[in-house]
Amino acid sequence: MEAILKGNSIHKVFGAKNNIYTALQHVDVTINKGEFVGIMGPSGAGKTTLLNILSTIDKPTSGSIVIGGESVESMKEKDLAKFRRKHLGFIFQDYNLLDSLTIQENILLPLSLANWPAQKMEVKVREIANILGIEAILNSYPYQVSGGQKQRAAVARAIITNPSLVLADEPTGALDSKSSTDLLNTFNVLNKDYDSTILMVTHDAFAASYCDRVLFMKDGRLFTEIVRGDKDRKEFLNLLLNTLSTIGGGTHEHV
């Protein structure tokens, strides 16, 4: 299997001399092409910190990151920005759509950043919106649509450039259970039918049960890893819940 992302001994320390907080302690991660990987763990475990570092938004104190064969730490701010544009797609808990743009404009922004011609952009937006079922709201503004629709728009924005890796930080965190399920099914479709590689942080076992593989974090360390294998989703969910109860924390609101 081809590794799309490799994090080696990632260490992250916050704060100044007399007030140091170690958020990540020598974490090793590998994500292979076509995988749908989850990261779980209680609040404060360092999930977001890890995701930010893997997605080049933040820098590790020590350790190395290789994405798609390119070593990230040697890159300058300018190159990093270009790299993110080209290879990564982001989905955030609070959507982070721009209020002043319509849904369509929000979705095509990454293409516009890549200097696509206007006509091709519109065609592409239509295509993606079709997959995600949001054609009807393309000309609405974010404040006019529901949370689930906003998150799907955010997904559309994240995948429109066909990134090698989609990173999602608690994408279901602000959604009701129906919208969550819809979104997770969409992830599944993207992963299975369109070959997207997805890394999703969540503290919700139900959401994590959609993944192929789930990494557990606690106190800045990788605690364990569970692979779904041939298990069906229910079984996998129970396995995840059991693991969670052994490390403490985590929730399970759906089922």
């Binding site: 701010e77 300018k78 209020d99």
Partner: protein, 643 residues
């Protein structure tokens, strides 16, 4: 004590917002104090012969300034309080009593006010020395300004601002009673509704602004202007104001929709971010844009006008004071003595010396459309000169000579400072000159606009045929004018003093240098006050945009963070900000400049003074200062976003 600690912590925590508020208050106080120090400056008023002018000019302006400063402080206070709403809500949620919160806000405001007052007085004291030097220079005096503590100005400033600070503090006290808790918590509205561009309103904007410009350009000739001056002015001002608002409100939304149609332009990411952000804020910005463009226009008009007059002082004085010296000759010894003084002077030499005469004749001018004030001033008399005398003078003064008239014809000379120079309306009308035997009717065949006398109040000059003149001269007493012209007359005040010593005190003596100095001191004062107010208005418009943009960018921080996560570089974020703000700054500047140019053109037509060069200088320097606010704003906002 407890309360005091909370206030202290508050200030520490929200330092930036407090800093902005204190800075804007300090600015207002500094400006006001500087201005009143100048108003009561003893050195300057002693140097002026006509202190009444100084006092009335400063008095009127200081009321305007005070009004302005109060509005500005009220605006910043509102701005500040809005930013603090959430804190206030939080205290109240934590169970702090309303009364306590009110008192806290009162103290907070009051303390900041006092700090601003002290800083403002200190800076103002320094500024006043600096500005009085400028004023003295502009008025053409040569006195050295010394540092003085001006108690009257201090007391006045203290009084005025204590009241203002007390009132704004009270406003702070009552804010907690004015809002419901839920209102205090409401986050800044997300996504304002976007204006539906209305073609009707957009056309109305064009029509109103176009109409007011058209009316302005009609000014000098139109009868309507003459007859309904006040009404016309009011119509122009109102349609300009409303038109500007509609322009920003509707026309810009309309243009935006047109831009949107051009997809390859509109979908370019930096354009997309810039224009959507602008239209998104259009509703709340339209009002600000209108205010700023009006402030810009008023500043440019006041300063452009003042500077044009000052710039043209020498020409103006030259056109009203044709000779370096003019006096009624008493004896040939005095004349010789004066000739001698000029001959021995190293800096000046005589260009010409010429005696000529006119005769005051009573007459009737009722048929004329335009009659200069001198006619009534000299008891309904005309100052009559002969055709030959006129041609001799014209020769000396480099003017066109005229062909001899018939006995019943004449030429008028009218030189107005303000008012249309188009004086051909008197042509072919007649006047009559009284005489003991028979009144003579004279038909006006021509009119000239210049001065032939140095007198501050000039009689109504009329040129007639030589024979007619000799007849009138026989019946009335002629006045002899002794006129001298020297080189470098603009700098001849030393020579003037020497000459004056030789002349008997009862002789009417009018010198170019005195008139020039007088004009310089008056216009210097004018340019100073308009320049000062201009700077104040500039500071105000700059600060208003600066505050507004700083608030917006703080609210928009998430937006820029998102962009950076999507792979937009810091430098690109700054470029987007710079692009967006360039529109915010330039739109009101362009509208302001256009408005002021239209109005200044109308004034210039009315006064027949060339405004072009001084107005260009003035617009360029204003734009530079204004753009420095733009740079400051972009830098500050970039710091907030890219920190």
């Amino acid at each position: 004590m407890n309360m005091f600690n909370i206030v202290k912590k508050n200030i520490k925590h929200n330092f930036y917002q407090y800093f902005l508020y204190i800075a804007s208050m300090t600015l207002s106080i500094t400006i006001y104090f500087t201005f009143s120090s100048l108003q009561y400056n003893k050195q300057i008023s002693q140097a002026l012969t006509d202190t009444e002018k100084l006092e009335s000019a400063f008095g009127a302006s200081s009321i305007l300034l005070l009004l302005f400063v109060s509005i500005f402080i009220w605006y910043s206070n509102n701005f500040f309080v809005k930013r603090r709403k959430k804190d206030i809500g939080l205290y109240s949620l934590l169970g702090v009593e309303k009364k306590q919160i009110g008192r806290m806000l009162f103290y907070e405001n009051f303390i900041m006010g006092i700090i601003a007052l002290l800083i403002g007085l200190a800076i103002g004291e320094l500024f006043s020395v600096f500005f009085s030097m400028i004023l003295v220079k502009l008025m053409g005096f040569s006195i050295a300004i010394t540092f003085t503590i001006n108690s009257r100005a201090i007391i006045q400033t203290l009084l005025v601002f204590s009241v203002i600070i007390f009132l704004t503090s009270l406003q702070g006290y009552f804010i907690i009673y004015r809002f419901k808790l839920i209102e205090l918590f409401q986050a800044t509205k997300k996504g304002e509704k976007i204006n539906k561009p209305s073609l009707l309103l957009a056309l109305l904007a064009i029509a109103m602004i176009g109409g007011s410009y058209w009316l302005l350009q009609l000014s000098p000739e139109s009868n309507n202007w003459d007859q309904n001056f006040n009404r016309t002015i009011i119509i122009i001002i109102i349609s300009m104001l409303v038109g500007s608002f509609l322009l920003f409100h509707s026309l810009s939304a309309f243009i935006f929709v047109l831009l949107q149609k051009n997809k390859s332009f509109y979908f370019k990411w930096s354009n997309l971010l810039t224009f959507t952000q602008l239209t998104n804020r259009l509703k709340s910005n339209a009002f600000m844009f209108t205010i700023i463009s009006i402030l810009n226009a008023v500043t440019l008009i006041a300063f452009g006008f003042g500077y044009s007059i000052y710039y043209n002082t020498l020409d103006q004085v030259k056109s009203f004071v044709p000779y370096s010296y003019q006096y009624e000759s008493t004896s040939s010894e005095v004349d010789a003595k004066i000739r001698e003084i000029i001959a021995t002077d190293n800096d000046h030499s005589l260009i010409f010396e010429h005696d000529w005469e006119y005769t005051m004749v009573k007459g009737d001018a009722s048929e004329l459309k335009k009659v200069p004030g001198g006619y009534l001033y000299f008891d309904e008399s005309f100052a009559v000169i002969s055709n030959t005398t006129f041609n001799q003078l014209a020769d000396k003064l480099d003017l066109d000579t005229i062909a001899p008239f018939k006995e019943t014809e004449g030429l008028t000379i009218i030189n107005n400072f303000i008012g249309s120079q188009d004086q051909q309306s008197n042509l072919n009308k007649s006047i009559s000159l009284h005489s003991a035997t028979a009144d003579s009717k004279i038909k006006i065949v021509d009119n000239k606009s210049f001065s032939l006398l140095n007198d501050p109040v000039q009689p109504f000059l009329i040129v007639v045929n030589d024979k007619k003149y000799n007849q009138l001269r026989g019946e009335n007493t002629p006045t002899t004018v002794h006129a001298l012209k020297v080189t470098n007359e603009a700098k001849s005040s030393a020579l003037t003093k020497k000459i004056m010593k030789e002349l008997p005190s009862e002789v009417h003596f009018y010198s170019f240098s005195d008139s020039y100095q007088e004009a310089q001191s008056v216009y210097g004062l004018l340019i100073f006050i308009s320049g000062f107010l201009g700077l104040v208005f500039l500071a105000a418009s700059g600060s208003i945009i600066y505050f507004k943009m700083l608030t917006e960018v703080t609210d928009d921080k998430v937006r820029y963070t998102t962009l950076k996560k999507l792979g937009v570089q810091k430098i690109e974020v700054m470029r987007v900000i710079a692009k967006q703000y360039s529109v915010v700054f330039l739109l009101p500047l362009i509208v302001g400049i256009t408005h002021s140019c239209m109005i200044l053109t109308a004034i210039s037509n009315l006064m027949d003074i060339n405004f072009i060069i001084p107005v260009i200088i003035c617009i360029v320097s204003y734009t530079m200062l204004y753009l420095s606010y733009y740079v400051l704003t972009v830098i500050s906002c970039n710091k907030i976003v890219n920190a």
